[in-house]
Amino acid sequence: MAWLEPLRALWRRLLAWDLLPTPGPEGARRDGPVERPWRYYWDHLPKRTAGADFSARDYQEARQRAEEVARSTLGDDLWQRLMMDGYLDVPSHRYAGISYRLTIGHRIRVICAPGARSPWPYEYLCINPTYPLPELEFFAHLYLYARDREDTLVRVAAPQPWDQRLGRTF
């Protein structure tokens, strides 16, 4: 029936629209050779996982690549310090006497110099990426935020009374 064709065409166009958010692993498969995770939502994934389509080998390769890029992002001096101390301290430009202690895969610890008072009620700040990343990759990102975008870090930080591994990294 010819009169139905315009309705069918409209229905096809509606289905082609992304009316609902696309889950990450499914969407990422459509991206081709380079996954663009910011296009999708990932909140449904279990903590510290990257999706059911990820194999043990995928995790291993992702962590190896993360180490390369974290080292390159931080530069050799910071990388050596991280390897020696197990953390990096980033002094706050906003709060006198406050530093952010960054540890791989964990919450940020707020360090107060003698006499300084933390603006937060708790010692730890929980900050995650909005999509899954290897711990080292996100560590480098968090370092850049703490050093170059402290306002963003302060805006999103969730103060917590204890340390814990991050949920969106693996």
């Binding site: 990450g24 380079v34 663009r36 910011w38 390369e68 900050i127 999509y131 990102h141 975008r149």
Partner: protein
Amino acid sequence: MGRIIVANRRGHQLVEWDAETDTEEARESVLEAERILREARDKGCAVSKRVGTQHVLDDGVFDPYAEEYQIIAPIAGG
């Protein structure tokens, strides 16, 4: 050759462009790199640029002669 490090669950993946060669393919690679950075920023990502031996977060317009950019994941509390 310039490159974008796209941080994702794979660790990262690379997008490369060539601003030195005057071919249709090279010009398209520059446009594609610029599109990816714009899209990521529009979706809340930050972008860092290699300066010397390390990266710094960068709000500038895409520089086709830059050595390396990196797409930095948006962050959320909790």
